[in-house]
């Protein structure tokens, strides 16, 4: 049974430590992730901006990358959510449409795979810190990932989870939105950081590095000493010492 890592372009280039944490965590359960090197980006920047021909070029690369995988696992609800748009993207191409549907059916956001497929909620991790969690929009609203990360965090020893006020509000990233509508996006991320600050948490955790790059970048700009991590990183750090 072949389980593959869909690293996503942002984690590949900017946050390789997230991929490493996923690979090492799953290896503890005997799941040896493969990494098809032909993969690139899910195509979401082009898709969301309306450039569907360009998005198809990217989507085709992803579909081909994982054709012979049984499980495709990504550290992002947004990039996994983009795969759910592939059937629409290829609705007029019967051959690609079938492949797109097949990929959609076997794609998982990291916590979906861990909790819903493998049935693991307690990794035996310890992380004695005050943590708040930002549920990213695409993961929660498009994929329905809500309980999985909470189940995982609730089983981490010493972890104090502080609810994030207005957690469901978008952080303002929105891909090219952050650049095109930078002032609106800036107002949104400022508000999100205000809420993070209110929790007095030491750590902000999430499931999407794009959102975390946005909030983390804003926190750093404002000199707020909050550590920003993907949940996979937190869990790996929590089991490493154990």
């Amino acid at each position: 049974m072949k389980a593959s890592l869909f690293i996503t372009c942002i984690s590949d280039a900017m946050y390789p430590r997230v991929g490493e944490a996923m690979v090492r965590l799953l290896a503890r359960y005997g799941v040896a992730l493969e990494f098809p090197k032909v993969q690139t980006c899910c195509g979401q920047p082009a898709f969301n901006s309306g450039y569907w021909n360009e998005a198809r070029a990217s989507a085709k690369t992803i579909i081909e990358s994982f054709e012979d995988s049984d499980f495709v696992i990504a550290p992002s609800g947004s990039c996994t959510g983009m795969i759910h748009h592939y059937p629409k993207l290829f609705e007029n191409d019967p051959v690609m449409l079938e492949k797109a549907k097949a990929l959609q059916g076997k794609s998982y956001e990291f916590t979906q795979f861990l909790v819903n497929v493998l049935g693991i909620t307690d990794l035996g991790a310890t992380f004695p810190h005050k943590v708040t969690y930002h549920p990213s929009c695409h993961g929660t609203r498009l994929l329905g990932v809500k309980d999985e990360p909470l189940a995982l965090m609730n089983n981490v020893r010493g972890l104090e989870l502080v609810p994030l006020p207005h957690a469901e509000d978008c952080c303002g990233f929105g891909g090219t939105f952050a650049v095109k509508m930078s002032d609106i996006s800036g107002a949104m991320v400022n508000e999100k950081s205000d809420h993070v600050k209110e929790t007095e948490a030491e750590v902000l955790v999430g499931l999407d590095m794009a959102c975390l790059m946005n909030i983390g970048g804003n926190l750093r700009y404002r000199n707020e000493p909050v550590r920003v991590m993907h949940l996979a990183e937190l869990l790996y750090e929590g089991v490493k010492g154990a």
């Binding site: 390789p16 032909v38 920047p45 450039y51 690369t61 609106i184 800036g186």
Partner: protein, 509 residues
């Protein structure tokens, strides 16, 4: 008439948003009220207990009605005519205005009292009435306020949401010719007294229409102030403006809509008044108009009929829940959207009602596509998907941004070959040495300006994941734990479920 010119505050959504973002009063007022409405809705949903089922039922009713709109419209018109209503059809705003003005002229009307109607805002009817010397008076409190201010509504159900108590007191004091205290009771009391006289002397009462019931040819209004009651009982003539999609088949369908609409709009179980009106006054009736007109307005709506990507837009019941849920709306308010309708529904509806793609502005870009609108919608309209379809249609029609188009060609070239992607990442790792400090880039030039005005961009680590993979893989394979039979079985089970067509769920449609 100034309404035909570019929207107030700038030609682009960016310019208009800029104004709002620098207006602390507006942002505070909008945030305060949207939050109150949003929380009210959440509470009402919880108390209801079976919200998701009713929401699905509401969606099914709307889908069915719109799929058979010709049938139900015909049925509605036949029944309304049998009730003695004069029914008119208007293809566009010009037609609807002409029909309204002709009625006003025939009745030698001097004044028209209006209850809240977004369609009438869409038609800019007040200006048209004034141009032939007919006074048009808005009688919904919020509408009255923005009429005094010479503004358009900035929210579908709370037209003056962008104004605070003190700004409203100032406007009403000017209207009253005396200083009014910034107290809600005092202000509402003033408007009530002022409007009482207007109701009594008006020749025509004009309303919108929340729902039109096909089986009896009736129209239904939801309101909280009682002003629509006055508008539909006191003047001798009533004109109702309705979008052609307002139809529902039956009164039992109204039960579902009456459950969804007030709860979604304000968190109320039911509005203070719900009026069902079936034709003009009959001899045995105590009150009501002698003459009743219904103008059924298309004005771009039929463009969505038969369009698989946009037909669901006609399902909208104008509750405003998507505005209250939208994090963008909260920061920029309604006027930044530049059209009659604001928020997520406005961002989709405004271009959709306009056939000419060249005249679409960039309003569909003012969304982070977070999906809060879809989640809040009582009839599940996938607005976040429609925003993307609008962007695509603009690009396909050749009206995309030229620089962005070139950039996306580059993106496609880059992302169709992992080698190219890898090369660019490596170039970035080298190139950033000139700008990165302490693992961050703070430079505010070129494409980095927007991002770095609010954030620090992280620098690229020395090695990308794919550059580290060889070492990592070797390490993993060497120290891999054996898989427990339980996990193995679970993975096999997941693959089998897929083959059976089960798949794993996702929350979307």
């Amino acid at each position: 008439m100034s309404h035909a010119t570019a929207p107030k505050g700038g030609a682009t959504v960016k310019e208009r948003a800029e104004l709002a973002l620098n207006n602390e009063f507006l942002r505070k007022a909008v945030k305060f009220t949207t939050e109150r409405l949003k929380n009210g809705k959440l509470k009402a949903m919880e108390e209801h207990g079976n919200w998701e089922e009713w929401r699905e039922r509401g969606r099914q009713i709307r889908l069915h009605t719109i799929a058979h709109l010709d049938y139900y419209l015909n049925q509605f018109v036949e029944n309304a005519r049998a009730n003695g209503v004069h029914v008119h059809f208007a293809d566009d705003a010009k037609d609807a205005v002409a029909i309204s003005l002709a009625i006003a002229e025939r009745k030698s009307a001097k004044s028209v009292v209006k209850s809240k109607s977004m369609v009438s805002e869409e038609l800019h009817l007040n200006h048209a009435l004034e141009s032939i010397g007919v006074e048009a008076i808005e009688t919904d409190l919020g509408e009255y306020i923005i009429q005094l201010a010479g503004e358009a509504p900035s929210h579908i159900i709370i037209p003056a949401i962008h104004k605070n108590r003190y700004q409203i007191a100032e406007l009403l004091s000017e209207d009253a010719g005396e200083k009014l205290e910034a107290d809600t009771k005092v202000l509402a009391g003033y408007v009530r007294r002022r409007l009482r006289a207007k109701f009594l002397e008006a020749d025509i009462g004009m309303t919108g229409c929340n729902f039109a019931i096909a089986e009896t040819g009736s129209m239904v209004l939801f309101e909280n102030e009682g002003n629509a009651r006055m508008v539909t009982t006191l003047p001798k003539t009533q004109i109702t403006l309705m979008g052609m999609e307002r139809i529902i088949p039956s009164w039992s369908d109204l039960e579902v809509m009456a459950t969804l609409l007030p709860r979604s709009a304000t968190g109320q179980k039911l509005t203070m008044y719900m009026s069902g009106i079936t034709g003009p006054r009959r001899t045995e009736d105590a009150d009501g108009p002698d003459e009743m007109h219904i103008i059924i307005v298309d004005n771009g709506r039929s463009l969505q009929l038969g369009d698989p990507e946009f037909q669901e837009l006609l399902n909208c019941i104008r509750c405003g829940a998507c505005l209250n849920a939208c994090p963008v709306y909260r920061h920029i308010g309604g006027h930044a959207y530049g059209g009659t309708y604001s928020g997520p529904i406005g961002a989709v509806l405004t271009p959709s009602l306009q056939k000419n793609v060249a005249e679409w502005d960039d309003i569909a870009n003012a969304s982070s596509l977070c999906g809060a609108c879809y989640e809040a919608c009582p009839v599940k309209i996938p607005l976040h998907d429609m925003l993307v379809y609008l962007r695509r249609r603009k690009v396909e029609a050749g009206h995309g941004n030229k620089a962005e188009g070139a950039g996306m060609k580059g993106f496609a070239a880059l992302m169709s070959r992992s080698g190219r992607f890898n090369t660019v990442v490596k170039l970035g790792q080298i190139g950033q040495k000139f700008v990165a400090r302490d693992g961050g880039i703070r430079l505010k030039v070129g494409p980095l300006k927007g991002w770095n005005t609010y954030r620090v961009l992280p620098a690229l680590p020395k090695k990308s994941f794919r550059e580290q993979w060889g070492t990592l893989e070797a390490e993993i394979r060497a120290g891999l734990n054996t898989m427990s039979p339980d996990i193995k079985q679970r993975m096999e089970q997941a693959v089998q479920n897929r083959a059976k067509g089960g798949g794993h769920g996702h929350g979307h449609h």
